[in-house]
Amino acid sequence: MVPPEQARLVLEFEVTGRDFAAAGNAATRIKRALEHVGFSARAVRRAAITAYEAEMNIVIHARRGTMSAYITPETVEIAAVDEGPGIPDIELAMREGFSTAPDYVREMGFGAGMGLPNMRKCADSLTVDSEVGKGTSVRAVIRNC
């Protein structure tokens, strides 16, 4: 994990639950920032996908949340911290195909139980902490290589 005080560039975005019109805005801005500071195409891509999946999870499941990116020349850490229902069984939630998303989210093309597994695939490390009734915190580190 990147100690926040060591980050050269910090981005922070508020994310509102159910605001599907704005969903993806934070991930797009993080992607542009990483391109701007010269991250490799591969690292930008992995970070952008991770951030977008995390942001969609906040919009789909939580009341509100914060998306942060801590950028150093070597790594980016993406932190998605929300106030929401939490995840009772994280191991189950990490399993591909498991989803609690409602039907209208599935009709949008999400909610197939692929978000967290895809984040794990894209990130060099992924940590999920959650408290039922309080919220969830997802931290992903992607190395710039």
């Binding site: 599907f20 019109a21 993806g24 996908i49 093309g109 197939a112």
Partner: protein
Amino acid sequence: MKLADVARHLGASVLTGHGGLDGEARGAFAADLLSDVLNRGAPHVVLLTGLTNLQVVRTAEIMDLAGIVFVRNKQVSPEVVAMGAEKGLVMMATHRSLYETCGLLYVAGLPAVSPDADAGIT
């Protein structure tokens, strides 16, 4: 294949990104599940889909897609057109089915692209 040729093979109408029609699509990916695009899509391919929401446009930007073809004569909302135009994304619409769209482009020489070929994610 140039995006202009994608439009020509399908008889598709171009909705946004007219300035980008000279751009190349190095393959195509068909999906009505954006999670699949995020999991298995590759950069600079054209997405063939029946979805017409704002998330398709966001996904295209996140994945560096070459463009979007909306199939089955789906009505595309002004909000989606506006977002695509703002991002300079090539978006087009065809009356053809997803199956027919895939078939026509495949026969015309537009290949499938392995997500792991050079996407950098394995």
